[in-house]
Symmetry: C2
Subunit: 104 residues, 2 copies
């Protein structure tokens, strides 16, 4: 993962509304949630929710799956783990371990 990728994920999660969406999705777990179910829990306009969802989907933090008329949204745990890994290993590694980078 590049620095720009990490920044994009961070930025996507950096908006309170989107972080709420993501957290709600994570907690819903297994079955995921439809867009309207999400709105029932979070409030706000549907178009706004969709807009944020698109951002999360584009980046890969959220996955959508069609189920009849409704689209089920699910959190993509792998992406989050990748991000956390980047933060803890590549970026925030102890300086002793980070010498392979640009520490020059």
């Amino acid at each position: 993962m590049t620095l720009d990728d990490a920044a994009a994920r961070l930025e996507a999660l950096g908006n309170p509304t989107r972080l709420s969406i993501y957290r709600t999705l994570v907690r819903a777990g297994e079955g995921g949630l439809s867009v309207s179910a999400l709105r029932e829990r979070l409030g706000g306009a549907l178009s706004t929710l969709s807009h944020h969802l698109q951002k999360l989907i584009l980046i890969g933090l959220v996955i959508q799956e069609r189920q009849g008329t409704t689209l089920i949204c699910r959190a993509n745990y792998d992406q989050m783990h990748g991000l956390v890994d980047y933060l803890t290993k590549e970026c925030c590694a102890d300086e002793t371990d980070a010498r392979q980078g640009d520490a020059a």
Copy 2:
């Protein structure tokens, strides 16, 4: 840590320039870096760098310490660990463990 706090940290780190600043600071480790040393490594205008630094400092991700004429900037590891903890425990906990929240 509240959701808004986490979002604020995430947003601060979500800008590529700021993530670079933070990463450079982390890798500098021990001694930290002065603002001008930071600019030598990252380029760009000094005022822009200062602006981003202020954001990072305000949130607590970066700490400044006076050393004679120069101000040394250091990464605040604790804040980052706190953020990672939030992401992995409070936010991205498995649904089985997250029932104390708003899972209703």
